[in-house]
């Protein structure tokens, strides 16, 4: 059972790494799309219809493909005055509660946005832009990013659990 969980964790990490690599590549593609737009407009007198729309679709992918990696690295911006000021045991408890709350928030968001993406897929809804594509092609990254982040928050909570219990035991 434990080895299965570890294997799943390793797959999750690999998927996150791959997603983050795609996000970095998409940043380059956004730059390329806009450079091409400027060249097409002024050199060929033929502005594209797709560059602005595609870049904005890619932005969504960049944000939510990067999000799990940021969660894995514990890089999300937070105000840590209270955590820094608490005793080690107190901070450990508070951190555990924060991880659980963040996991729950991400999980509920993933469920809500996943449901919305499913609705878009089922009803064949397209984006409203000069270059329409099925909306779920873009929005699918939101439930992916939030669900994967929820899993990371939960993994971090589980990872911290032994030290939390040990500190609690030592203090009592």
């Amino acid at each position: 059972m434990l080895s299965l969980v570890r294997r799943l964790g390793a797959w999750h990490d690999r998927l996150t790494t791959a997603g983050f690599a795609v996000a970095a590549t998409l940043v380059a593609l956004i730059a390329a799309a806009f450079c091409y737009e400027v060249i097409a407009r002024y050199a060929f007198f033929a502005p594209t219809e797709w560059s602005y729309a595609v870049a904005s679709y890619f932005l969504c992918s960049v944000i939510f493909l990067s999000m799990p990696e940021l969660t894995r690295r514990k890089a999300h911006i937070a105000v840590s005055y209270l955590l820094d000021g608490l005793s080690a045991a107190g901070a450990e408890w508070l951190r555990a509660m924060i991880l659980l709350l963040a996991a729950l928030a991400c999980l509920v968001t993933a469920a809500i946005t996943g449901q919305e993406t499913w609705r878009q897929y089922a009803q064949g809804i397209s984006t409203i832009s000069a270059f329409p594509v099925p909306k779920w092609w873009v929005s699918i990254f939101v439930p992916y990013g939030t669900f994967s982040s929820a899993v990371y928050f939960f993994r971090q909570f589980v990872h911290n659990l032994p030290s939390l219990i040990a500190k609690e035991g030592a203090s009592s």
């Binding site: 806009f34 400027v38 870049a55 939510f64 840590s80 968001t109 946005t113």
Partner: protein, 439 residues
């Protein structure tokens, strides 16, 4: 539910979650899920999902990762070393010249990137040790680095300006261009202050001979100035394209990335590894900011929906305060709050509340939001929790935090003085945006 109960409850809950240390984006998610459920029931969840989607696909925000890539590529291209050597050469034989180098270098770096923390860290690791070794006053040197770094979110390209423009629904191009003159004016004010202080108290800087002893660059002034041109060309290309209406800010940012890449190739620093590091860094920094925005925009919409933004506006207008007093109060509140809270998070709360008020008072929007942007920038400099202070502290761990705190205050007051000038003479801000060709 009455608007004041929703407003007070939401604000107290948000502040509590933030002070507990919940990641900012998660705190907004929690509040928004609860808020949407309270106001609309489960039927409102589609609105919540759509607010995340709409923010994540906002075209104007694509400039955020692009300007970050541009700065990252330039930082890695060797352009910074060239700029440092050239500015070092160009500054004459004056006592306290490293203070001057520091401030001018920061302003130039601000024109090439938009992150105050990155510049404070960079100068803290490179210039700060040199200044201390040469006998410069540690506290005053720290102050000039903090002051210089604070110019970066004001002088375009500025990620913070793009975020303010997007949230306040004003022209991104105008917001970017509006920062040029205030940035230069503050640079001038810092320089005047530094030179006066050194003249009044020569012990703040070493003898000129000692100062020039280990100067690396010995090229002619013309060569030094010429070597700066490629980097400065990128700035003028990006801002020029925006001002002339040739390109939108996002297109200009993309051409800036191309220019920076060509410059890196010219300096023989371009490699796949360097590019990929810059792209990864841009994806990281942009996503950290934009995840917060995506999670929080619904909060602003709930404030509007609950009637809180309008009712607060009406109450404030009912006070019939003179415009100058209102402006002062609208700047004082974020000045205090930015000392303790994250810039983007606070902007997301304050901007929807401020919007109706500035319309009623008929404040010029670009002028007002530029002042607001400068207040947000000052927030990074003010103790006890300014981000820039900690960036310098982590770059120079042996300098006590109390010294860094004391170092920042004179420059904070200079910026406040500068804001007073900009408030009295709005043209300082609005002159350049007025000249822009619309696109």
């Amino acid at each position: 539910m009455t608007w004041w109960a929703a407003f007070a409850g939401g604000l107290v809950a948000l502040l509590s979650l933030l002070f507990l240390g919940v990641p900012i984006f998660a705190a907004f998610l929690v509040l928004n899920i609860i808020g949407v459920f309270v106001f609309f029931g489960t039927a409102g969840f589609g609105l919540f999902a759509n607010s995340i989607y709409a923010t994540a696909t906002m075209g104007a925000l694509t400039a955020v990762p692009l300007f970050i890539v541009m700065g990252e590529v330039l930082f890695r291209s060797g352009a910074m070393e060239v700029l440092f050597d050239s500015i070092d050469r160009l500054i004459g034989r004056i006592r306290g010249r490293q203070y001057v180098v520091c401030i001018i270098l920061s302003a130039v770096l601000g024109a090439l990137s938009g992150a105050a923390m990155a510049v404070a860290g960079l100068l803290g690791r490179s210039l700060f040790p040199t200044m201390r070794r040469r006998g410069y006053d540690t506290q005053f040197a720290a102050g000039t680095i903090l002051a210089g770094a604070s110019l970066d979110p004001i002088i375009p390209p500025s990620v913070l300006a793009i975020i303010v423009a997007t949230l306040a629904d004003v022209s991104t191009g105008k917001m970017l261009v509006a920062g040029i003159v205030p940035g230069l004016m503050l640079t001038g004010m810092f320089l005047i202050y530094v030179l006066i202080r050194v003249r009044a108290n020569p012990s703040l800087a070493p003898d000129l001979a000692a100062d020039l002893a280990d100067r690396k660059t010995d090229v002619s002034i013309v060569v030094a100035a010429t070597r700066m041109l490629p980097s400065l060309f990128i700035f003028f290309m990006v801002m020029g394209l925006i001002m002339l209406g040739v390109a939108t800010p996002t297109e200009a940012a993309a051409t800036g990335v191309l220019g920076a890449t060509i410059l890196a190739a010219a300096y023989r620093r371009l490699s796949l590894q360097m590019l990929s590091e810059a792209l990864y860094s841009a994806a990281t920094i942009a996503s950290l900011l934009l995840v917060i925005m995506c999670s929080a925009v619904m909060f602003s919409q709930l404030l509007t929906f609950s009637g809180a933004a309008r009712a607060l506006g009406e109450i404030i207008v009912g006070l019939s305060l003179p415009a100058a007093v209102m402006l002062f109060l609208m700047m004082l509140l974020p000045f205090v709050l930015f000392m303790f809270l994250d810039q983007v998070a606070l902007m997301l709360v304050l901007i929807p509340i401020y919007q109706p008020i500035i319309r009623i008072y008929a404040f010029d929007e670009i002028w007002f939001w530029t002042l607001f942007l400068i207040v947000a920038t000052v927030g990074g400099l003010t103790p006890p929790f300014g981000y820039v202070l900690f960036a310098l502290k982590s770059a120079a761990p042996d300098v006590p935090l109390a010294t860094i705190y004391r170092a920042s205050w004179p420059f904070v007051w200079i910026i406040v003085g500068g804001m007073l000038i900009m408030a009295v003479f709005p043209d300082v801000i609005t002159f350049l945006p007025r000249l822009m060709v619309a696109r």
